[in-house]
Amino acid sequence: MRMSAKRTLRWGVAAALVAAAAACGSDNAGGSSGDSLTLWTHNAGNPQELAVVEQIAADWNAAHPDKKVTVRAFPQAAYNEAVVSAATAKKLPCILDTDAPTVPNWAYAGYLEPLDIPDDLLAKQLPSTVGKYQGKTYSVGYYEAALGLFARKSALTAAGVRVPTLEQPWTGAEFDQALQKVKAGGKYPITFDLGTGDTGTEWWTYGYSPFLQSFGGDLIDRTSYKSASGVLNGDKALAWATWMQGLVKKGYSPQKSSADAFADFVNGKSAMVWSGIWNSGSLSKVDDGVVLPPPDFGNGAKVGGGSWQWAVSSSCPDKATAMEYLRTSLTAKNMAAFAQKQNVIPASEEAAALVPGWQPGGEKRFFLDESKELAMVRPPTPGYPYLTTTFAKATQDIVAGGDPKQILDRAVAEIDRDLKSNDYYGF
């Protein structure tokens, strides 16, 4: 009886494993099946953008019926997990889109293949739409995003404050004056909304590290990529932290903004809000809404760079075709289609010329010029996921009123420990 029981158990386990394997196997998400290449994109929740991606694939398929591209869209919140799991299971698609700051991490992990795209084609791109790691290009995007300080012009003129321009942004002192005067006017419950209602991680780094860089600090020492010491906890970083905390302590910005700070701005609750191009579509709802560059705190005004870009997986069996797909799709027409359908910056001048509003002097032009002049990509290091989570938490703690020096010192210690334990990620 014992024997038979054991055998039954063994058979049961074996049967279950076979069933499980079959279930996994039947859902073939692999790089290519037969003559077709698979393409993964993060924008299942964004029908406008997905439509352009599908149109590009359809154009390709019409021209290459023997090497078709199949589009699979994922919700953005689950996308990175899907890629990482697929990579672990060796089932990455041939072509995939990636959020710019994660590109070095995935390149380092061996998920991505360096792109074979001629330099003259890349030279047309906005610099921050090309994802580089250790001298090689791994990703390229059809569009870019940018931050902006959205304000009510009437609030500024009533307070007697100069309206800044890209050529001459506010200085730190000027901005402080502006905050004081607008708050003194008493018309708006919130003077300058930082938009701290976002509970995710990436906004905190994308949105607030440009201020740090404008003060002269950074997330990591970009000369060596081997330490954050001195750049994230030096005097300049401390000045940034004190300033961020001061915005809350002085009552200019709520410690925690509501879930949609831009809606508050549109509804007249705030005079100014720190947000991005993705909200610029609603700016027209504010009669005298303007978008301004961020202040220059000494090291130049800065905004974050790097949006969604495209890459080819290293496990793709037909990399040449995947490369050709990306290469031929990088046309002004395709980039213009993205910029037409939603609020993004077209990635090249040629594309900008095709979309109303993006030509020099156009109403949306500000973002393209801003991105060209002020964009700073987030540190292109495989250690970025650790950098961004640590920085985001530090910033959250600073805004919540913690001791800036202690918080930044701890963040630096954690980042340096992580860098060291990873042999500095190959730097």
Binding site: M1, S4, A5, T8, L9, G12, V13, A16, L17, A20, V84, A87, N105, W106, Y108, A109, G110, T199, T201, Q255, K256, S258, P385, Y386, T389, T390, K393, Q396, D397, A400, G401, G402, R410, R417, D418, S421, N422, D423
Partner: protein
């Protein structure tokens, strides 16, 4: 011989029936636990081309020096210490109240149970709105106190965790009420009748009939609430993200944050191992305290 054959057949059938659950348990419980144990002594990462290296107790050393871990542990224990008695006590009170034979008790039973069948994520999002400075909770307090109280519940280090405790107890109390209720209904009505004849009052009936009658229910509730309280995660994840200043960070929340967002699989495994030992120890102590004592 015949009997043995029959026994063998029964055993086989039994095993076959256990197999699905057994396989799932092995695949999704024993294997991950074993992996977690093993990984916590390595430098495993979620994404890295580096080969796995054995690092001994380094992760545990790091744990000892990690102020966030100690804060998380303190928050977790504090949460459990308050939630276990408060929630089980309140659930018992509700159960006694809805255990009377009266019109409309079913309505109350249902009402108290509604939060339990609502997704905790939905409940957390709703309560986040209610706890906002201009949310429902503050509006009610203003109305009752004449605008004296004004608390930013989830953004104040001293109120964030208590606010989450209150909301968690509200959400889960219905479930334990139902279990208490089931326990109450196993107590034979004759005992109460007899006690009434003997002239026992309400309190004495509760003290000498209800309370002893709920022995095994009590143990079950104690153990389940404790384990649920120690593994506090969803509310934190949705409502505060561990903030402000780690005031609501818990052990499980930290493990998830470190393991997935920061990709530190090994360190997260070490945290989970410590958490496992913590839950095990607490459960064993509870088992020992509530053991059947031979009189």
């Amino acid at each position: 011989m015949r009997a043995r054959m029959q026994g063998g057949g029964q055993g086989r059938t039994g095993l076959l029936m256990v197999a699905p659950a057994g396989v799932l348990l092995i695949l999704f419980f024993f294997v991950p636990v074993a992996l977690g144990f093993a990984l916590s002594f390595t430098d495993a990462r979620l994404i890295s081309p580096k080969p796995l290296e054995f690092v001994g107790l380094e992760n545990f050393q790091r744990l000892l020096d990690d102020p966030v871990f100690w804060t998380s542990l303190r928050n977790t224990l504090f949460f459990a210490a308050v939630i276990v008695p408060a929630q089980s006590g309140f659930a018992l009170l509700l159960a006694v109240l809805v255990n009377v034979k009266m019109r409309g008790t079913n309505l109350f039973r249902m009402l108290y149970f509604v939060p339990v069948v609502t997704s905790i994520v939905v409940v957390s999002i709703l309560w986040r709105f209610m706890y906002q400075p201009d949310g429902l909770v503050n509006s009610m307090l203003h109305w009752m106190t004449g605008n004296v109280v004004r608390v930013d519940w989830l953004n104040d280090t001293s109120t964030a965790l208590p606010a989450i405790m209150f909301m968690s107890a509200w959400q889960a109390v219905g479930f334990h009420m139902v279990i208490w209720l089931a326990g109450l209904q196993t107590i034979p009505g004759e005992l109460y009748e007899a006690a009434e004849i003997d002239g026992a009052g309400r309190w004495h009936q509760f003290r000498f009939i209800t309370w002893p009658g709920l022995r095994s229910t009590r143990t079950f509730i104690l153990v389940t609430i404790t384990i649920a309280a120690l593994s506090l995660f969803t509310q934190i994840h949705v409502m505060t993200g561990g903030g402000p200043l780690d005031a609501t960070s818990t052990v499980v929340f930290q493990a998830v944050r470190v393991g997935y967002q920061q990709q530190q699989t090994a360190y997260a495994s070490a945290i989970s191992l410590v958490f496992f030992l913590l839950v095990l120890a607490v459960s064993l102590i509870q088992r020992w305290l509530t053991r059947e004592r031979s009189a």
